[in-house]
């Protein structure tokens, strides 16, 4: 009898919890604001505990990354040494290239990123799960002026955008490696606006739309955000360098592979550009 009562109660509990979960999923899918506010409040409540734990266990995670990624680090070191040698050999050419890029950006009338109001934020959580490899959480949010869709950069260039409405003191950044990430770009020196998209963790950006076959693009050419009308991104943010060019003869398009200039692994600090294309327009 007691066992029967217990089974009945546990079935009731299961149904209640399932209905609650399904309701939450539905409300979240419909961007139900009170739920989002509750989520923010709960996150803020747990946040001090988490920050403390992060500080406490951060060195353990770093040590683990050092041990498990030793081969990778060694290979990376080797590559960097080779790269350094090449860079030293071409120092003069490189400085010329930098001046050329600056001149080209000037010619295109592209404003410098430094002129746009920005907020520096710390990456507080990289991936907590095994399915969220394309986003990180930062410790700045709505109270710092951050809004959905704002571009996020590092010294190397664009790394992503703010995803969804930020919380009061935190936001989520979708990285440009996300296959669903798209950004309008142009190769410096051209005026054909094309669409680049992510290709997964550690992969390059792929330009598959918009670049006509007769546009002159070369391997090694820099690619920046186009900043065309109402683009989420201001013009001139470095995206990367063209590493491969293919041709789609049927659609008369060039297909570019672009190596991102900014590293999205092991991010510590990022800069959110408080850029609102509509405000800029007005």
């Amino acid at each position: 009898m007691a066992a029967g009562t217990r089974t009945g109660r546990s079935r009731f509990t299961l149904i209640f919890l399932l209905l609650s979960s399904a309701t939450l999923v539905t409300l979240d899918a419909r961007d139900f604001e009170p739920l989002q506010r509750t989520e923010e409040t709960l996150t803020d409540l747990i946040s001090p505990l988490r920050s403390g734990a992060d500080r406490l266990f951060g060195p353990v995670g770093d040590a683990w990354a050092g041990v498990t990624g030793y081969d990778e680090l060694e290979a990376e070191n080797r590559e960097l040494r080779e790269e350094l040698q090449q860079l030293e050999a071409q120092q003069i050419l490189d400085s010329d290239a930098a001046i050329r890029l600056e001149l080209l950006l000037d010619e295109l009338g592209l404003p410098y990123v430094q002129d746009i109001p920005n907020v520096v934020a710390e990456v507080v959580t990289a991936n907590v799960g095994n399915f969220d490899r394309y986003s990180v959480q930062i410790n700045r949010g709505a109270e710092d002026g951050i809004r959905n869709g704002m571009p996020v950069v590092t010294r190397g260039g664009l790394i992503g955008r703010i995803d969804g409405d930020p919380g009061r003191g935190h936001s989520r950044v979708t990285l440009l490696t996300d296959p669903s990430f798209e950004v309008g770009v142009l190769a410096v020196g051209t005026d054909d606006v094309a669409l680049a998209s992510g290709s997964g963790h550690g992969g390059p950006l792929m330009v598959r739309k918009g670049l006509e076959i007769d546009t002159e693009v070369a391997v090694g050419q820099e690619v920046v955000t186009s900043g065309v009308d109402r683009s989420r991104y201001p013009p001139g943010i470095p995206i990367g360098t063209v590493t491969e060019i293919d041709y789609d003869e049927a659609r008369l398009l060039q297909l570019l592979t672009v190596e991102p200039s900014a590293n999205t692994d092991n991010l510590s600090f990022v800069t959110v550009l408080l850029y609102d294309p509509l405000a800029e327009e007005s």
Partner: protein, 168 residues
């Protein structure tokens, strides 16, 4: 031990597990895969406490981790609830558990839970869940949770000692 203190211990355990998962375990990756502590919590709760406690623990830890995942809020809670309940039910009716069975069940349930999460997530419109990498994630996370299941089973027994005595 009173019911209230059992609930307090459970809540403390869940909160600590959640914080530790985010601050520590999510960084301890092998082949880019972290242990699935929240899923292991739900499964081991079912194994130790039966279907009802498995469902409640799964729901609570699922909601906690959903706060930090970009997927739909409630998705983890939904799956972990079902998983905690189902494993608890199987344990009661079939396994009657030797420790090594519990450990293997935790590993298998981890792999199965991740597969269901990816499939259900994709059906609900989430991108990048069901990918070629999913099977690597399932394998590594299952092994990880197999190792972590023993301490987790012990911690659940610490949380519910007298309540378990009353029922079992």
């Amino acid at each position: 031990m009173t019911m209230a203190s059992a609930y307090s211990r459970s809540a403390l355990f869940l909160l600590t597990a959640l914080v530790l998962h985010m601050a520590l375990f999510s960084d301890l990756r092998i082949l880019g895969v972290a242990p699935e502590i929240p899923l292991a919590i739900a499964v081991t709760a079912g194994l130790v406490g039966g279907p009802e406690r498995g469902a409640v623990a799964g729901f609570a830890i699922g909601l906690g981790i959903d706060l930090y995942l970009p997927t739909l809020f409630g998705l983890s809670a939904l799956i972990y609830t079902v998983w905690g309940y189902s494993v608890g039910l199987l344990e009661e009716r079939i396994f009657r558990s030797a420790w090594w069975i519990n450990v293997l069940v935790t590993a298998a349930a981890t792999a199965g839970g991740l597969l269901v999460y990816a499939v259900l997530g994709e059906l609900l419109g989430e991108a990048n869940l069901y990918t070629d990498r999913l099977y690597v994630v399932m394998g590594v996370a299952a092994v990880y949770n197999l190792v972590l299941s023993l301490p987790l089973l012990g911690l659940w027994r610490w949380s519910w000692p007298s309540l378990l005595g009353e029922e079992h």
